[in-house]
Amino acid sequence: MQQFLELLGNAFPYLVAGTIETLRIATGALLLGVAVGLPTGVGRVYGPPWLQRALGAYVTLFQGTPLLIQLFFVYYGLPSLGVTFPQFTAALLTLGLNSGAYQAEYLRGALQSVSAGQMTAARAIGMSQNQAIRSIILPQALRLVLPAWSNEVIAMLKNTAVVFVIAIPDLMGQAKILASKYFAPLPIYMIVAGFYIVLVGVTYLLLRRIERRTQIPGLTGEGE
């Protein structure tokens, strides 16, 4: 026990630094994912056919291949085509585009579950399709997408762990270093798992709160 606490004491500052790195990557990638996923989801439902197909191809590409391959492709593959990214940028880009594909799909489902009458009624009072999407459909779809989006946030926190393979000192990267430095893989990985659980737990509680705050009074979560 004494030994474990000593190890924890030594490892702690590194793990905190790793946690901060993990949070930076996760937050950045999620924001990039929203920036990409939101227009992609809308385009896949309301865009012209050629756009729907193009966006569908993007989604299939990122959902159909392992995240690790995507990361290797961006970090090790693209330089041979003359495109080189620093590690952190490569990680953000890969995770962000990957998350964007998933977020677009969640949003597509939510957009399609807003009843068609909402669009009809919006057009009937003279709104253009874009106005109707912005003022009527999206505000409802974004509420519907929150539970799925919460899952995406939690998945992202853990997916960031792949970035240690391109030598980013995130939580997982620090764990790898510490485990070999102290020859103590079992306790280190246990501690790191604990860090992830706390991260995910706190995030989960925050997201549940947002969900409750944005609920439409009188509705239990289902549309009309």
Binding site: S115, G117, Q118, T120, A121, A122, R123, A124, I125, G126, M127, S128, Q131, S135, I136, P139, Q140, R143, I216, P217, G218, L219, G223, E224
Partner: protein
Amino acid sequence: MTTAPILRIEDVYKSFGETRVLNGFSLTIQPQEVVVLVGPSGSGKSTLLRCINLLHPPTAGRIWLEEQEITAPGVNQDKVRQRIGMVFQDFNLFTHLTALGNVMIGLTKVRKMHKQEAHDLAMLELERVGLVERANHYPAQLSGGQKQRVAIARALGMDPHIMLFDEPTSALDPELTGEVLEVMQQLAREGMTMIVVSHEMGFARQVASRVVFMEGGIVVEEGPPAQMFEQPVHERTRAFLRKITDLDEGGK
């Protein structure tokens, strides 16, 4: 009548794929008329309303709203729809907005009013339908009758020149239809031009200036309610009206 018609529908056809729903439908409506449109299900009543406000533009034929041919190419359809109010069978209130918000959103987003101005006008419209005290309720917190009255207020807020009602009371429990019909009756008294698809024969008798019976996508017969109910010319009209009048009275 020498006044210019408010709406002129000329030989309108509408098909969905292979199915032809409207078959050369023509009808002219004068300002302040209340036209009740009846006909068996599938006769094209709802499609006609959706052709009039261009939600489903006609396949062929022409429609004039006041002096403008709205089926002409290059017409701004959003602008046309602002002048045509529409009320749906299943209300279609915006679920994420309060009653007030439902009326306001068209004012701020489409009519580009300032918030305060929109708020005040929206409250006036809610007052017209008797729902000021429900202004801050969400649709899920309103009864069916209240929802439909909010939907009417939402349409009125756009200051329409004509109102289309697509079976406004069909989704309501019988005890809730009265409050909606009352609002419509009051609108008619104020001089609103209305086309009402409805099988509320009491309303048709009392409020309609004309009853139009349609079947197979065309007008079979039209006339003042008294004539249509007492001495229709066509056997089909007679049979249909007898059937729904019996149902109507049986239900009361």
